[in-house]
Amino acid sequence: MKLAKIKFNPQRCIGCRACEGACKQENNLPVGVRWRVVTSNLSGVYPNLKKEYKSSACRHCSKPKCAEVCPMKAITKDSKTGIVEIQTDICIGCRACVEACPFGAMCFNEQKNKAGKCTLCKPRLERGLIPACVQVCMGLAMEYEK
């Protein structure tokens, strides 16, 4: 079965951070908690420079390291949707998952003392909408595939 995911095309990403803004708004994230982050990589020699932008968030891994290390088994991968989810009420804020994520995608909300990350906008998906970041992408670099 094909699992839902966000397909990202770096050729089309313009580094505008609309996806970041949409993510902050959709999830009402406090300063310091960035579930989606745009980075860039510069290469080449002046004046033949090359800059590639990347928008990244949780990759909803097939074998999520975060889930492996969680002492409370609060992180699970939904076999139907492929979404890696955190049951926030169970999370004890130990940050093992933050350390374990090889992509730096697991965030920590100091105010709530909870781990958090991209949910693939599950509440939106359930209403038949696409993820907020995909919706606003100015360079049309992101696509939602299911």
């Binding site: 609309a18 300063v31 919706q135 100015m138």
Partner: protein, 706 residues
């Protein structure tokens, strides 16, 4: 989302782009902003593309998506504030604020004449009612933001192809040549990035001429780094190649232009080798670009602030526009388009309003013969300081942070000190509001009305409407201004604002305000896009044709051909580097730096310097450096990067706040302190990118003024 959530169509105003949005309101609170695909600004700028692309939804930029952080910003002004001493303020009632403003303005009018009031406004928000106020009060001195933005671009294009704001059809072009324009970050219209990416997908070649390796240059086939302020020279040399090699469009030139022989003679000696010496762009590159541009169709050439914010802004824009005259690629699909727009119909001056006999204070139309109606900010400032041609006594600033946004901030402060009365209307206690005698809390764009003529290539008007009442509990700006007019006994301000909008709409589109509200997305669109309209109506220039040689310029004693003087520092030995600045995608001018989400994305503005330059100056990445120009000095963090021309240094605009709010304060430095504060000769455009500086390692104890 529960069922009580209302979804209301409106327009963003986080910048002047005015993207269509839907506001989600629940329990009296705005909880979300989403894009509105009925509004072309987030979709496409030509009719056919709009109809297709809207099915993919609309786009939005981070400024709009983070706008709720400004709406609910605890640092927003809540109550009218009256100055009681230096940095001392007393909250007063709205009634008392109106009484105080009316009394002060009346006194000044009676004593010094109405023209001693200067009015500064943003250019996308309730401008008509402000202009009406000025007319009814009797002052000719209404100025707005456009003078700091694209006044020289307007003049340059108006003089050549007869349109003040041509817009590029990027999506359908095969060859896109941009001078000093970064539509991928200085986005303005949310459709731009997708349009450009769509052209690239279809195989278009994108060439970006810019001293900075911008986000647009990063997507280009070719980045052409150029010395700041020399773009017009490059354009003249490209013209030389096209003419000398016979590559220009003879049919177009013969039938639709005037002044070609004079132009051809003028550029006969302006060859690529000459231009290489000035611009730093290799002569071979110039030849190749000229040949490519002349032989690829459809082609589009466009230019914005990276060219027009210099002392040769209008002339350079003219020289660039002339490339379009040579290739004959104007107003066709994939070209620079001359848009048909319908504006809300501004009411005529009422007969009871006085005839204004006083001359303008800023030389609009006189000293600056091709100035836009937005006036000349730096001349208004000089008048405050010198009393010439007469002494301004009062100023009203509506969303205009004059201190921060007009070049030469120190002098701006000195100028404002000369006034008897300053009224500032703003969302924040800005650096300008901090100098006011009376500060009035402004609204967020989700709290007010406006009609917006969209910048697309077909008639389109959208509605901004209040989705909640102003949080401060007071009137909107336009209501405050109308009440003020009534207190002053000025006629014509007694109807509700909605009635005025209704009349403006009916007068231009035939539909009512209620009808506009009920249209999908609250947008009135009237396609199709019509192309090459000049074939029937000619160009809106004085000759009716595209002008290589301008009689209108000659009539004003100016050179009819584009005479491009490249200024260099008065003392290059002392100040060897050109200081430029740019707008970043995360911020709008000086007004978004208190937004914690946007500041998280970009919270500072380090000085960019090329590695070769840094090596010569023995500077290292992250050094604290001292920047000195003839006008100002301050310290900044250094960022060493090959993304900037070795002869230039630069930083993004809008930072270095000393007021506004807790988030903004103390982050980065204000680039405007380094500029002299002059206006461009022809259009009066404020020169906001032309200064020369020296950069050195700051002393151990220097940490900048902030």
């Amino acid at each position: 989302m529960d069922h009580s959530t209302r979804i209301i169509p409106t327009c963003c105003n986080a910048c002047g782009g005015q993207t269509g949005i839907f506001a989600h309101v629940a329990g009296g609170k705005v909880i979300k902003i989403e894009p509105n695909s009925e509004n072309p600004i987030g979709v496409a700028n030509t009719w056919d593309d709009f109809l297709v692309e809207k099915n993919r939804g609309a786009r939005m930029c981070p400024k709009g998506l983070c706008a709720l952080k400004q709406l609910y910003d605890p640092d927003r002004l809540q109550k009218p504030l009256k100055r009681t001493g230096e940095n001392c303020w007393k909250p007063i009632t709205w009634d008392d604020a109106l009484d105080l403003a009316a009394e002060k303005l009346n006194t000044i009018k009676n004593k010094y004449g109405a023209e001693s009031l200067l009015w500064f406004s943003e250019d996308h928000s309730f401008t008509h009612i402000q202009q009406d106020f000025c007319k009814a009060f009797g002052t000719p001195n209404y100025l707005n933001h456009s003078n700091l933005c694209d006044a020289a671009r307007k003049a340059g294009f108006k003089l050549t192809l007869g349109d003040e704001r041509p817009i590029a059809d990027l999506a359908n072009s095969r060859y896109i040549l941009l001078f000093g324009w970064n539509p991928m970050a200085a986005i303005k219209w949310a459709y731009l990035p997708a349009a450009l990416m769509s052209a690239i997908d279809k195989g278009a070649k994108l060439v970006v001429v810019d001293p900075v390796f911008t986000a647009t240059a990063a997507k280009a086939n070719e980045w052409v780094p150029i010395r700041p302020g020399t773009d017009g020279i490059l354009a003249l040399a490209m013209g030389h190649v096209m003419v000398s090699e016979g590559l220009y469009n003879k049919e177009f030139v013969d039938n639709w232009t005037v002044g070609f022989p004079e132009y051809a003679k003028y550029i006969a000696d302006k060859n690529p080798e000459w231009a290489e010496g000035v611009t730093g762009v290799p002569a071979n590159t110039i030849r190749r670009l000229a040949r490519e541009l002349a032989t690829t169709k459809p082609a589009v050439v466009d230019t914005w602030s990276g060219v027009s914010h210099y002392s040769n802004g209008t002339e350079s824009t003219r020289a660039i526009a002339m490339l379009l005259g040579l290739i004959g690629e104007i107003d066709g699909k994939g070209n620079l388009l001359l848009p048909e727009r319908v504006q809300p119909k501004h009411r005529k001056a009422l007969t009871q309003w006085p005839e204004i006999k006083a001359q303008r204070i800023d030389g609009l139309g006189t000293k600056y013969p091709f100035a836009y109606k937005s006036g000349i900010y730096v001349e208004a400032k000089e008048a405050m300081l010198t009393g010439k041609p007469y002494q301004p006594k009062a100023a009203v600033f509506v969303f205009q942070n004059f201190v921060m946004s007009v070049p030469n901030s120190q002098r701006n402060v000195e100028a404002l000190k000369k006034l008897d009365f300053i009224l500032a209307i703003d969302v924040y206690q800005s650096e300008t509001a901090a100098m006011a005698d009376l500060v009035i809390p402004g609204t967020h764009f989700l709290e007010r009305y406006d009609l917006t003529a969209n910048w697309v290539a077909f008639p389109s008007i959208s509605l901004r409407q209040p989705v909640i009442k102003p949080l401060h509990g007071g009137p909107t700006e336009y209501e405050f201004i109308m009440s003020l007019a009534q207190r002053l006994g000025l006629p014509g301000f007694d109807l509700p604002y909605e009635n005025l909008l209704d009349a403006e709409l009916k007068g231009s589109t035939g539909i009512s305000l209620d009808e506009l509200k009920s249209l999908p997305g609250a947008v009135w669109n009237d396609g199709p896009t019509r192309y090459r309209k000049y074939l029937n109506g000619g160009f809106a220039t004085s000759s009716g044709k595209f002008e290589f040689c301008s009689q209108a310029m000659a009539d004003k004693g100016l050179n009819p051909l584009p005479r491009i003087e490249v200024k260099s520092g008065k003392d290059l030995g002392k100040y060897p580097l050109a200081l430029i600045n740019w707008k970043s995608v995360e911020h709008t001018h000086t007004r978004t730096q208190n937004n914690p989400w946007l500041m998280e994305m970009q919270g500072n503005n380090p000085l960019w310097m090329h590695p070769k330059t840094a090596e010569r100056l023995m500077l290292k990445d992250n050094d604290m450096v001292r920047i000195e120009s003839a006008t100002g000095e301050d310290c900044a963090i250094l960022k060493i990067t090959p993304e900037i021309h070795p002869d230039a240094v630069g930083m993004s605009y809008g930072f270095g706040h000393k007021d506004i709010g807790s988030v903004a304060k103390g982050n980065g430095i204000n680039v405007n302190q380094f500029y002299e504060g002059k206006a461009e000769d022809i259009s009066g455009q404020a020169i906001v990118k032309e200064a020369w500086v020296r950069v050195s390692k700051a002393g151990v104890n220097e940490v900048g003024q902030n």
